[in-house]
Amino acid sequence: MTEQSNPTRMELLKIKERITLATKGHKLLKQKRDALILEFFKILKKSKDIRSKLNVKMKNAYSALAVANAYHSAFELEAISLANARIMDVDVQVKNVMGVKIPHLISDIETRPYPSKGYSISGTTSMLEQCIEEYEQVLDMALQLAETEIAIKRLISEIEKTKRRVNSLEFIMIPRLDEQKKMIAFKLDELERDGFISLKVIKRKLERERGLL
């Protein structure tokens, strides 16, 4: 699909301008894509094992919970968890990488020593202790996972978008504009030649008339 445009000098200038703009944009987008991919690999390295580690951890945690469940009644567990509940705030700092917003999560979840836990150890078993510990670790890992995974997902979608733009500029927009430019230049040349020839014809005619006189 080539746009039909008038073969005028004005139009030619416009198209030339568009071509320079498109090439500039193409270059910039290419750089953006490369920068994004660089960032992506950085994060990927970090996150590589977190998922699989977390899966194992959660499996352990689930079984620890099952054991704790066997030693304590559901009611007891609920009471303990209410006593142990604390405020967990997460600060989300947003880092901007090439227009992609990457969250950086900071949390102050720490494993607390006994006195500050809200329940008494005399009433509970070590299984419960184990279970709580496992889950605290899970929480900690899940937070890391959340950060990296979200970053990866966002970077990936942005990379995809940028890549598409780069390609469409490179393989569709710029060639199409080039084609148009060529077309107009050709038509303009043709017009010029046409004018030139008709001038010559007129001149010859005039000379012939003069010679006859």
Binding site: N55, N84, A85, L105
Partner: protein
């Protein structure tokens, strides 16, 4: 690229009882135990309340959700919604990411 915003939010856990119990024990305050069927509604509620910065959800639940909601979740900048594995300890989430990477970069870099 120096704009750094700080948002402070809470952690929420959403899932069935066997999923949420452990998190409750670890001290998470905002735990929402749902029965099968009303998890979508609750999740939307949590997102719209804008109080939470991270929502952990049982992966099985998040997979069963309506595709519209799934799409919304994947496009969401805030809060961060993280599916965690169900009791079997397996997760498709890694595979999902693999597919995404393959689509964007053209090759599978995680596979060794």
């Amino acid at each position: 690229m120096g704009d750094k915003k700080m948002v402070i939010g809470k952690i929420a856990v959403l899932g069935e009882r066997h999923f949420t119990m452990g998190f409750m024990l670890a001290g998470v305050q905002n735990v929402f135990t749902v029965v099968e069927g009303n998890s979508e509604q609750k999740l939307i509620e949590l997102i719209d309340s804008k109080q939470y910065s991270i929502i952990y959800i049982n992966e099985r639940l998040s997979e069963q959700m309506d595709w519209k909601l799934k799409k919304r979740i994947s496009n969401l900048a805030y809060p961060v919604i993280v599916p965690l594995p169900d009791i079997k300890g397996e997760s498709n989430e890694a595979a999902n990411i693999k597919v995404l990477i393959k689509r964007a970069l053209g090759f599978d870099i995680i596979a060794k």
